[in-house]
Symmetry: C2
Subunit: 148 residues, 2 copies
DNA sequence: CTAATTACTTGCATAATGCAATTAATTAGA
DNA sequence: TCTAATTAATTGCATTATGCAAGTAATTAG
């Protein structure tokens, strides 16, 4: 059996790069952490701070400050929940939605480019494998606490 | 065709976690960046600072400081090259080698655990796919500059 | 033999991180 | 019902990571 660590080390490194590149949209410059936040807010429906912070496995205090930054950048909006006044509901502003969508598109374009170096069969196999991996990791006890 | 970004977003996130966990060995506590450095020094033969910094796509100034830290921790040694006195050759100390090996083992154990949630066929497929992905990324123009 | 280049280090200035402690709102228990 | 415990989120540090600009020392080019 091969050295899995080797494979993953390289893969992780490349992913990191892919993520780094992918986040400046015109004048707006976003860190990769922030892009994860936008992504997750976009995905969930009326999420609270806790929910997003947990989804991306980020310390709530750091998260709180990141949200403050994103609000200053006018990408995110915070609305107090009427049901529970302690809770803040997060949403994307129009601009935030635009940025999130643009990042999504450019990431997909990047990935298409990467996949263009494979034939159809390989593409299918790789996609299926990533799904398998995600599933396996979600079942794993050793990592990957942020379910989903 | 599926949404690749979605898949990769999740995968990236999990990898990040996997990496975070895996780096405290007894009293020694290592950041995931530092573990990448140890890994790469261990792998290459008599590498210079530049070489390692480039391999992990890290700014040389940040790298320089990370190396200083690792030297204080007595995990890494810096030897001036006799051929070119500007160059520093990096190597692991005995303890550094031990830490690198231990991290490698525990990462592999983690990965084995993850892979234990698949059957033999799936395991093979996933491993092959990761290799394919790595290859494709290395061919890609959009990312992944740190070849290898 | 001087000028340009290269390998690496330091001086900022900024951002990210997380623990401890705080505030405000909600829920539980006597 | 009123106080105590819990919860959501924010702030106060203190630490670490990051990277550009500038510097030093060694090497190479012309």
């Amino acid at each position: 059996m091969e050295n899995k660590r080797e494979l993953f080390q390289v893969l992780t490194r490349r992913f990191g790069l892919l993520n780094k590149n992918c986040c400046s949209i015109g004048a707006v410059d976003i860190s990769s952490v922030q892009s994860h936040i936008l992504y997750e807010i976009d995905k969930q429906t009326s999420p609270s701070m806790q929910q997003i912070a947990e989804a991306i496995a980020m310390d709530i205090t750091t998260f709180s400050r990141q949200i403050q930054t994103l609000i200053k950048m006018e990408l995110v909006k915070k609305t107090p929940s009427s049901a529970d006044k302690r809770v803040s509901i997060l949403s994307l502003t129009v601009q935030g939605k635009f940025v999130a969508t643009t990042i999504d598109e450019s990431m997909n374009a990047y990935l298409e480019e990467v996949f263009s170096h494979m034939n159809e069969f390989e593409r299918e196999t790789v996609i299926r494998s990533i799904k398998l991996l995600n599933q396996a990791m979600s079942k794993s006890s050793v990592c990957c606490t942020p379910l989903l």
